[in-house]
C-alpha cells in the first residue's frame, strides 16, 4: 500500500512538472500555430539562470527572477525573430525555433560548461515533506516532516513497520504547479487580458479591428509561455539534475504531452501530463513480459529475445508508443478540438 501511495505521488509530481512545461507550449501553439521546438531550451535556461542567481543571493530570489529573465528573453525572441519570419508561413517559424534550440544549447555549454552543476534545493526543502508510516499492526498514517526514528522501529518483532518519506522538493513541485494552474485558469477566464487572448486564439483579425494590439498579445503569450518553462526549469533543475542534456530529455516528452492531450488544449495537456507521469512511474514497477504472460499459458519463450523484455525495461519508450497510438487512433488528441 505504501508502495502504491508513494509511487502515485512520485508519478503525479513528475506529471505536474511536465504540465508546467507543456502548458506554455500548448498556449503558444494554440495562439500562434507555432510548434515551439525551443520550449525545452527555456526550461534549461530557467534552471541555469536560477543556478547563477542562487550562487549570489540564494534559491528563493532565483525562483522569482529566473522566470522573469526567461520571459524577457522569450518575448525578445518573439519580437525580433519570430515575428519577422511569421509572414513566410509556419515552416520558417518552426525552423527558427529549431535553430534557437541548438543556439541555446551551445551557449549554455559555453557559459556554464558541459558537466552537470551542483544546484541543491534550499535548506527547508531538503528533508521529507511528510512520512508515511505503515505498520502491520495499526495501519497507515501520515507524519509531517521526518518521522522520529523510534516510530519507524518496531518494538515488537512481529510487527513490520515501513517508513516512506516523501521529499519536500517534490511536494513543492506539486504545490507550485497547482498554484500555476489556478493562476493560469483565473487569468484566462476572469481577466480582460485573458478574454483578449482567448478571442485572439480564434479570431485574430476581429480582435485587431476592435483596436487591440494582437502582435503584442502574441509577444506577451510567448514570453509568459517561456516564463512557465523557466519556472519549471528552476524546480526541475534543483530537484533532479542541471546539465546541458536536460532540455533534450524533457523536450521530446512534452511534445508527446501536447499531442496526446490535444494540440492547444490546456485541459488536455494537464490530463496527458498526469497520465504520462503516472504511467512512467508505475511501468518501472511491472516485471511482466510477453514471455511471462505466454508462460502462464504453457508456452515457453527462449530467454534473451524480445519476449523476455519486461515492462520496466521498456518504460522509457512507453510515452512515445502512446504518441504513435494516439496519432493513429485519435489524431486530435484526448481533449483536442480540431483534427490534425
Amino acid at each position: 500500500m505504501e508502495f502504491f501511495t508513494i509511487s502515485m505521488l512520485n508519478g503525479i509530481s513528475y506529471g505536474l512538472l511536465l504540465f508546467m512545461l507543456s502548458s506554455g507550449l500548448t498556449l503558444i501553439f494554440s495562439m500562434m500555430g507555432v510548434l515551439n521546438f525551443a520550449h525545452a531550451s527555456f526550461y534549461m535556461l530557467g534552471a541555469y539562470i536560477a543556478y547563477s542567481i542562487a550562487q549570489i543571493v540564494g534559491f528563493w530570489p532565483g525562483l522569482i527572477v529566473a522566470p522573469i529573465v526567461v520571459a524577457v528573453l522569450g518575448a525578445l525572441f518573439e519580437r525580433y525573430c519570430l515575428r519577422r519570419v511569421h509572414k513566410f508561413g509556419h515552416v520558417p517559424e518552426l525552423l527558427i525555433t529549431f535553430g534557437l534550440s541548438y543556439v541555446v544549447l551551445e551557449l549554455v555549454q559555453l557559459i556554464w560548461g558541459r558537466t552537470a552543476l551542483e544546484f541543491p534545493p534550499p535548506e527547508v526543502l531538503r528533508g521529507p515533506a511528510f512520512t508515511l508510516v505503515n505498520s502491520s499492526a495499526d495501519g497507515m498514517h501520515f507524519v509531517f516532516g521526518a518521522a522520529p526514528a523510534a516510530m519507524c522501529r518496531a518494538a515488537d518483532a512481529a510487527v513490520r513497520i515501513v517508513c516512506s518519506p516523501f521529499p519536500a522538493t517534490r511536494g513543492f513541485m506539486m504545490l507550485v504547479a497547482l498554484l500555476m494552474l489556478l493562476a493560469l485558469f483565473l487569468m484566462l477566464t476572469r481577466t480582460r487580458i485573458g478574454l483578449v487572448i482567448q478571442s485572439a486564439l480564434t479570431h485574430p483579425e476581429m480582435v485587431e479591428s476592435l483596436g487591440h494590439n494582437v502582435p503584442r498579445v502574441f509577444m506577451l503569450v510567448f514570453g509568459a509561455g517561456a516564463a512557465l518553462a523557466g519556472l519549471a526549469g528552476v524546480i526541475g533543475g534543483s530537484t533532479f539534475v542541471t546539465e546541458p542534456a536536460m532540455a533534450a530529455t524533457v523536450g521530446s516528452v512534452i511534445f508527446v504531452v501536447v499531442v496526446v492531450g490535444g494540440m492547444g488544449s490546456l485541459a488536455g495537456a494537464f490530463l496527458a501530463s498526469i497520465l504520462i507521469g503516472v504511467m512512467q512511474t508505475f511501468a518501472v514497477a511491472l516485471d511482466i513480459s510477453v514471455g511471462s504472460v505466454l508462460a502462464n499459458f504453457g508456452v515457453t519463450a527462449t530467454a534473451g529475445t524480445l519476449t523476455s523484455l519486461t515492462i520496466s525495461q521498456v518504460a522509457p519508450i512507453l510515452p512515445y508508443l502512446l504518441l504513435v497510438l494516439i496519432l493513429i487512433f485519435r489524431p486530435k488528441g484526448l481533449l483536442g478540438t480540431r483534427e490534425g
Binding site: 512520485n10 533532479f240 539534475v241 530529455t249 512511474t281 518501472v284 514497477a285 522509457p316
Partner: protein, 427 residues
C-alpha cells in the same frame, strides 16, 4: 608567478647560459642516454572518452589524472620517453568513438586510452583489430583503464587490448567472497544499467551468490537505460516493496549518484554493494548518509599509503577534484617499463613487452599483465563508506566521509579463468 623576459634579453640570457653549461650538459645527456634508452622520444596517448553529457564529470576527472601523471612519469619512467596526452570527446557513443579513433590515427597516434562504457570498448576493440590487420606498420594499441566487461578479455579478446582495471568476474568473485561472511544479507536486489556491463554484473552476481551463499534470495532484478534516468525514486519504491536488505549495483557516474540520492530521500536503509562509490558525484549524493551501509569493491581505495596518498593530495590541491582512477598509474608504470624492455616505442614491440610483464606497482604490491588474455592480475579491496577519522583521513568531495578498507583480496583470490584464444602478429 611567471616573469616576463623580453625576446632579446632572453636570447642573450640563453646564449650566456649555453656557453656556461655546455660542457656539463653534454656529460649529463650522455649518462642519461645510457640509463634511459629512449630519452626524449615523445609518445602520444589519445584519450577517447565522455567529456560532455551526464558522464562528463567522470571523463574530465580522468583526463586530468592522465595529464597530471604524465608530468610525474615523464620525469621518472625508465625508458625516458615523454608522454603527451591528447583528447577527443566521444559523448559516450560507440559511433562517435570510432570517428575519434579515426581522427587519432590520422594524427599519428599509436596508443589510445578509453575506459567509460564497455559498449564503447567493444566497438573500439573491433575497429582496432581491423585497422591493425589492414595497416601493418601503423598498429594501434588500446589501453583500457576502466571498461570491465569480461568479454573484452574472453570471447572478444585481442592482442592489441590491455585491461588495467579488474573485470566484472574478478570484482564479483571478491565481492561474493566478502558477502559469504555476512549473515545479515538475506534478500538481494540487482539494479543495473541496461547494457553489456550492467547485464554482466547481474549475471555474475547471481552466479557468485549461488555458489557461495545459496541461502540468499534474489528478490528483484532491474535494468535501466544508461545515463538517461534522472529520477530513481520509482526504482527505490520498488526495491523497498521487494523487502531487499541489500542492493548490488554496477552503476557508475550519475546513475549511481542519483540512485543513492533517491535512496536517501526515499528513506531506503538497506545496504549497497557497489563498484563505483568513490567516483565523481556519488560521494556528494551520499553525504553523511549511508555510513557503514555502502560498500565498494575495487582495485584501489581512497586511503592507500604513499606515494599514492601524497599524489592524491597534490592532485586535489591542484584541481579541487579527487583521484580515483588509479589504473592511470599502472598504465604509465607498465608502459614505461615495457618501452624500456622493448627499447622501442613501436606499438607491436611494446605490446609484446607488455604481455606477461610483472612488476611492483606504486600500490597494491605486485601486478602482472596476464599473457593469455591481457587482464591485469592485481589486489582488490573492499571498502566501506564511513566518517573520515585520523586513520582513514582522505575525504572525497568535502564530505567529511571516506571509503575505509575492510578487506583486501590478493590477486589469486579474484583471478578468474579466461577462454581467450589470442592470435598474435608475427614480430
Amino acid at each position: 608567478m611567471t616573469v616576463e623576459i623580453s625576446g632579446t634579453s632572453r636570447r642573450g640570457f640563453n646564449l650566456a647560459m649555453g656557453t656556461l653549461l655546455a660542457a656539463p650538459a653534454v656529460v649529463l645527456a650522455q649518462s642519461k642516454a645510457a640509463a634511459k634508452p629512449l630519452a626524449g622520444q615523445v609518445v602520444k596517448l589519445m584519450y577517447i572518452d565522455a567529456l560532455s553529457g551526464l558522464m562528463a564529470p567522470v571523463g574530465t576527472n580522468q583526463l586530468k589524472n592522465f595529464q597530471f601523471f604524465a608530468e610525474k612519469f615523464n620525469a621518472t619512467n625508465p625508458a625516458g620517453v615523454k608522454f603527451e596526452i591528447l583528447s577527443i570527446d566521444n559523448k559516450l557513443s560507440p559511433t562517435e568513438s570510432l570517428n575519434a579513433l579515426k581522427s587519432a590515427i590520422d594524427q599519428g597516434v599509436r596508443y589510445v586510452m578509453q575506459g567509460n562504457g564497455s559498449s564503447v570498448a567493444l566497438a573500439l576493440i573491433d575497429a582496432i583489430n581491423k585497422h591493425n590487420e589492414r595497416n601493418p606498420g601503423k598498429e594501434v594499441v588500446y589501453l583500457n583503464f576502466s571498461a570491465v566487461d569480461p568479454d573484452l578479455t574472453n570471447s572478444k579478446c585481442s592482442f592489441w587490448h590491455f585491461r588495467f582495471d579488474a573485470d566484472t568476474t574478478m570484482k564479483m568473485e571478491a565481492m561474493t567472497t566478502f558477502m559469504k561472511d555476512k549473515p545479515d544479507i538475506k534478500k538481494v536486489y540487482l539494479l543495473n544499467q541496461n547494457y553489456s556491463h550492467g547485464m554482466q554484473v547481474a549475471k555474475y552476481a547471481k552466479e557468485g551468490l549461488k555458489r557461495k551463499r545459496p541461502d540468499v534470495q534474489i528478490v528483484g532484478e532491474d535494468l535501466h537505460p544508461l545515463a538517461q534516468v534522472r529520477d530513481f525514486s520509482p526504482y527505490i519504491a520498488k526495491i523497498k516493496a521487494s523487502g531487499a536488505d541489500t542492493v548490488i549495483t554496477g552503476n557508475w557516474g550519475s546513475d549511481l549518484a542519483l540512485l543513492v540520492k533517491a535512496a536517501v530521500e526515499g528513506g531506503y536503509d538497506g545496504k549497497f554493494y557497489t563498484y563505483y562509490t568513490g567516483v565523481s558525484g556519488t560521494p556528494t549524493a551520499l553525504g553523511e548518509n549511508g555510513a557503514g551501509k555502502v560498500y565498494q569493491i575495487a582495485y584501489s581505495h581512497y586511503n592507500l599509503p604513499n606515494p599514492v596518498a601524497a599524489w592524491a593530495r597534490e592532485f586535489k590541491d591542484k584541481f579541487g577534484d579527487d583521484f580515483y582512477t588509479l589504473s592511470v598509474l599502472r598504465i604509465y608504470e607498465m608502459l614505461g617499463q615495457a618501452m624500456y624492455n622493448a627499447k622501442s616505442t613501436d606499438p607491436v614491440k611494446v605490446a609484446f613487452a607488455l604481455e606477461g610483464l610483472k612488476m611492483n606497482s606504486s600500490f597494491g604490491g605486485e601486478v602482472e599483465m596476464r599473457k593469455s588474455d591481457h587482464q591485469l592480475q592485481q589486489t582488490l579491496y573492499m571498502s566501506v563508506w564511513q566518517k573520515a577519522d585520523a586513520k582513514y583521513a582522505y575525504s572525497p568531495e568535502k564530505t567529511n566521509m571516506t571509503l575505509a578498507p575492510v578487506a583486501e583480496f590478493p590477486p589469486y583470490v579474484s583471478s578468474t579463468p579466461t577462454s581467450c584464444q589470442m592470435t598474435r602478429p608475427s614480430l
